[in-house]
Symmetry: C2
Subunit: 224 residues, 2 copies
């Protein structure tokens, strides 16, 4: 029998859920979506692992942490598990996102189709350059004046900001973002940033990914 979705209650328990775990939950969600699209009603952890090059024991451990989702002899109901995962990840409500910086990167992020598919709403772009204000991205996201961040963040209920500004501008911009009451920041600028307690900052360092490919090229070639 399936039990109710149990979420870890204390701050301590929450801290134990590492970013690596939430990253894996995101990957499981992506796999379940593709199974659902293929019309597959149920899946075992073993099949899920084999099909998507994952680890079956890890899947069971990750999911067990949040409740008892498996059904003996059946595995997981794809739609049910997907709904549970969306709830665990906080995707059962619409999240509004602002992008700071309407350069190439900001405009690319504004129209990135993956975000909308998962229920994120890219509500607004912000830039300090007057010539950009009043324009919009190809997909129709409006570009606002950076000075209106606080006002529009409140009006549109923005809870996440993505930073796509030059590294030199990032420290000042992040202060404005925090000042506007936004509690979660995804940073694409190189370099280290600081945020006050209660604000979650996650940085995407594109160079790290490239360096792991460089490692592969350097040592894969040792073998020849």
């Amino acid at each position: 029998m399936k039990q109710a979705n149990k979420l870890p209650k204390s701050r301590q328990a929450l801290d134990q859920v590492s970013e690596l775990t939430t990253n894996r939950l995101s990957v499981y969600l992506r796999c379940l979506t593709s199974l659902e699209e293929a019309g597959v009603p149920t899946v075992s952890s073993r099949t899920l692992a084999e099909q998507f090059h994952l680890n079956a024991a890890q899947i069971r451990k990750d999911l067990a942490y949040f409740g008892e989702f498996g059904v003996r002899g059946v595995g997981y109901y794809v739609r049910d598990l997907k709904r549970h995962l969306r709830k665990i990840l906080g995707l059962d409500r619409r999240l509004s996102v602002a992008i700071i910086g309407a350069g190439n990167l900001g405009l690319a992020l504004a129209d990135y189709p993956g975000f909308r598919q998962e229920g994120f709403e890219i509500a607004a772009l912000f830039d300090s350059q007057a010539s950009k204000v009043g324009e919009q991205s190809r997909g129709g996201v409006p570009i606002h004046d950076m000075r209106d961040l606080k006002k529009i963040a409140r009006r549109d209920g923005i809870s996440i900001a993505m930073l796509a500004v030059p590294a030199a501008a990032a420290p000042e911009v992040i202060e404005q973002v925090v000042g506007a009451g936004i509690k979660a920041v995804l940073n694409f600028s190189p370099g280290t940033l600081k945020v006050p307690a209660g604000v979650k900052l996650k940085s995407v360092d594109l160079t790290v990914s490239l360096e792991s490919l460089s490692f592969f090229l350097a040592h894969g070639e040792d073998e020849k």
Copy 2:
């Protein structure tokens, strides 16, 4: 005494170096660069850990795998360790990178300053849209015709391709990339791609990062 830089010799040993390890080596390298810029000559694993919110035991373990870099009573020589890490990561030679897709994302990647800082050369953009061919990014990266990929990849010694194309185009594009003899691919398109053995594919899923923020917002707010 410092010993020579030991690299794992067998394919088996190489496979044991997980992507998580190379990601951490990249982070250490970034930290050492910022220490070097601040004029710090030596650093202990403990100080390194404290200053950059890392794990000292993990640092020692990661580095010990590749050789004996620490000096008793001193710690690590910042410049030496940085040079060793660059060598381990294959960054002691110039790597040429091509970007496939000259849309907003491709143009943003072409001018991303972090890549050049670490010694990657963004040599060329490719697009199948005739109106873009012959143009260049703001930073001066030329946009070539996709049909010339193989020719230019050979001429410019391109070893890494970044995919910044729509998801629907990605499977065909990756075949062309592999056909051009490129052995390492960094993919920014949503969805799963396949590559033949001997080619390394790494995907950056921007939605995963956003979902880990969503998790924080959902459960951080439980506490209030």
